[in-house]
Amino acid sequence: MNDMRNTRRVVQSYLENLPMPGAEQVDARVLPDALTAMHKAKPQTAPSSRPIWRTIMMSKTGRLTAAALVVGVTLLALFDRFTQPAWALSDAIEALKDFRALYMVGAFPGGTAEVWIRANEDKTHSTDVVVRGSQGAVTWTKDGSTYHFEPAQNTVYFENALTVGASQWLGPELLEMFSAAENAQIVRGKDPATGRDRVLLMCSLIDVHGAQSWVIEFDKASRLPVAVKQWPNLYRSGPPSFDTFKILYYEDLPDDVFNVSIPNDAKYVEKPLAIPEETVAGLSDPRDGIPTEGLTQQEAAEKAVRILYQATIEQDLRQLKSICPLCRNWGDEFLRRIVLKPDKDDRIVEVLELRPISKTGHSPLGPIAAVPTVVRLKNGKKAEVKMIVQFRNIGGQSSCVVHGPYGLPHEIE
């Protein structure tokens, strides 16, 4: 051993080749307890003042605190290092096929809520939702619109879009979607409380609702999801925007469950059109979108939305990413499954109508507009989909891109 440099080289080689315990062994030993401990930890973050309807399933914004970010990154790094996506989802997918409705109870920052939610007949996305918060607030959907009643203000805030619900039903489609996500992780372990075998499926992405991450916990015996957590960030950091601790499955539910009564003298206030702040950066590349010089807003929006649908129908991923840049946040396989859906009956096959802009707003990039469209699906059904178009002026050049859908599709026939 001649000098320090040689010694360091030998020591480095030695340290890099030390025997390590097996990944699954470490997963089973560390993760369940760490997750449980994290769940029980009381965050210092002040309770969110956001109304319930923005926190359930389609939460739109979230700020990362330094502490929260730390936790997320740590766990993500652990999972990335120690997990192997070996657990097949096929069993769980099969178990979920019969259920069209759910009842969930969970916590969100600031309270608890019970959720009744029902899917469309094809079980591709939710159609009816009622969320009853612990403070008397109620959120519900009806005829393609979303309402939120705030009892302290005796006010109903509404928007003419389905902005609450599940854009993918908690069933086979959702699980397939997760399994195709590039960063999906599957971890096996035991529930530290019950000792039952469980499987955790973790995933994160940025879509039109902003950054989101999930952990879905499956009971290995029943093969059904028994808990779902969602965070408004990519790192599963901070308090979840919704954390279920009870899920009941139903083949269907009576319509009465989704009826909501509110005081007759309640005021109605329309919610302004907005997009999540964290999606703005993804919309600001001047190479994306189309020039709008000489076009009215309506003409430009129609042109952009037509290009988007054309790309979808023709399965043209490159064009899709160019006109709707947020799609770049998803891997190609994920994009095929969730947007193009080449082998699904609910994929869009024809654009029937582009209607006048129904609502406008502003983002830091410039004006935004919601364009209602009517499309025909492969299964013959018609659906109304509102698309948000972002107008921008970058380097003196006017252009626009499609932000993405404003709410869920609303089947009209």
């Binding site: 030998v10 020591v11 080749n17 390590m20 560390v30 760490a34 994290m38 936790v71």
Partner: protein, 149 residues
């Protein structure tokens, strides 16, 4: 890193478990200053040091695992030499004082700069560098001594 700092490598999982569970429990009141990697590295180092001391008090045996097989050997003779070197390094590392062993592992394996080690351990940069230098020097002496014997 836990494997490098523990005399008894069967405790690696326990150390990881305790570090991450403690960390998860402290989420609410946690405020990170500096790098997360450095913070967790120090947590692992502290746990490993506690465990080594407890084991020492109980009179536990030292390293209990077969050394890692060499990864790129040219032949059986070279393999045997590598195994022997690994065994000697195991023993040499175990002989280092805790703070020197830690400085070597944090800097060489975890690639933490001395500035970060100094901040995390609340010592001066010179002290961090000295511990590393003394540690490496002692390793060299131990290895040379054994090789020459």
């Amino acid at each position: 890193m836990a494997a490098a700092l523990l005399n008894d490598r069967s405790g690696v999982e326990d150390v990881l478990h305790d570090v991450f569970v403690d960390f998860a429990q402290s989420v609410g009141g946690f405020e990170l200053r500096g790098s997360l990697k450095g913070y967790l590295a120090i947590c692992v180092a502290n746990r490993a040091r506690d465990r080594n001391r407890t084991a020492h008090r109980r009179g536990a045996a030292g390293l209990d695992e077969t050394p890692a097989p060499p990864t790129d050997t040219a032949g059986p003779e070279q393999a045997a030499k590598s195994r022997e070197l690994v065994a000697r390094l195991d023993a040499a590392m175990a002989e280092l004082p805790d703070e020197q062993r830690e400085a070597v592992v944090l800097h060489v394996q975890s690639r933490l700069p001395f500035r970060e080690i100094a901040r995390l351990r609340e010592i001066s940069i010179n002290t961090a560098m000295s511990r590393y230098r003394y540690g490496l020097d002692k390793l060299r002496s131990i290895l040379n001594g054994e090789l020459e014997s």
